[in-house]
């Protein structure tokens, strides 16, 4: 049993994760639902009463309970992996990436999946933290709803269903992502 847990605790390679993600998508279809996480953000708006003054949020959010429960599952899965399935080794980044990030003053990943200096409460008070977490989060919420889906809804479900709109959306994801990574992050990270 300990060997099994030790084995699971190693970082999982892409060829394990990718097929598992496809199986999660299939499970949702088989249960008669669709696989997409950004809709939860819209549901949360509706729960908070946004339907009162905006038709877009005026729907019976209780029909979406299954997706909120799925999101709670994600949170629990993260906790389980964090508490019991964590290995000793850090994220094995490309040395070139590491060197680059070091130049911008981002610490290397040691026992954390995210740069602790950025993902901390105190970082929210800095301009860098504000741009990356608050502005970044806003763009995620605004953009996913504008595009009608995120990575799960478009990149996984949509591409699997050979949808041209999803191909366009994924091109957009990369256009925006590359723009920020090449032209914005070098400045923001050095703040």
């Amino acid at each position: 049993m300990n060997n099994l847990i030790e084995w699971i605790s190693q970082p999982w390679p892409w060829y394990v994760a990718g097929p598992l993600i496809a199986l999660v998508m299939f499970s949702m279809l088989w249960l008669g639902k669709s696989f997409g996480l950004s809709s939860n953000l819209r549901t949360m708006c509706s729960i908070l009463g946004a339907g009162k003054n905006c038709e877009f949020f005026d729907f019976n959010w209780k029909d979406q309970t299954w997706n909120l429960v799925f999101a709670v599952g994600l949170l629990l899965g993260g906790t389980i992996a964090h508490l019991w399935l964590t290995p000793e080794n850090a994220v094995a980044l490309n040395p070139a990436t590491l060197a680059e990030l070091q130049q911008y003053g981002v610490e290397p990943p040691e026992d954390s999946l995210v740069p602790a200096s950025l993902f901390s409460w105190s970082s929210l008070l800095s301009l860098k933290g504000f741009i990356m977490l608050i502005v970044g989060g806003f763009l995620v919420g605004f953009g996913t709803r504008y595009a009608g889906g995120c990575t799960s809804g478009h990149a996984i479900s949509g591409l699997s269903h050979l949808q041209i709109p999803s191909v366009i959306a994924v091109i957009g994801f990369f256009a925006g992502g590359l723009l920020v990574t090449y032209f914005v992050l070098p400045y923001v990270l050095s703040l």
């Binding site: 949360m44 994600l74 906790t79 990943p109 970082s123 806003f138 990575t151 699997s160 914005v184």
Partner: protein
Amino acid sequence: MKLLRYLFIGIIFGITLTKAEIISWYRIYEMFRFQSFHMYGVIGSAVALGIGITQAIKRFRIKSIDGESIHIPDKQFSIARYLIGGSIFGMGWALTGACPGPLFILVGNGATVVLVVIASAVLGTYVYGRLRGRLWH
């Protein structure tokens, strides 16, 4: 109690994305710098199997758990909506290193400040909803 099914699938998904480091800001940065195959392998293999699954559902008319036919709706065609909306999301993805699913998983991993990122994303969704009629779709 049917809801427990979704909780269970969510737990599997949360563990998978944590263990494969997909929720890692570092991995997303590395992906956008084309310095690793990892994320492309994850998305590529998920889509490859996903295409097979979707085709199989159609060809063999696989029924859902309740015995109904599985209907996957087509997405409405537009270029502006997906390109502009997608680019805006992409910018947020590169900044936060997280798409909506990983936001929840990161909170579970103890990065509690991500709750603020989720709140900000909810606000972004709300602002989209309010401006929707005036945006190019």
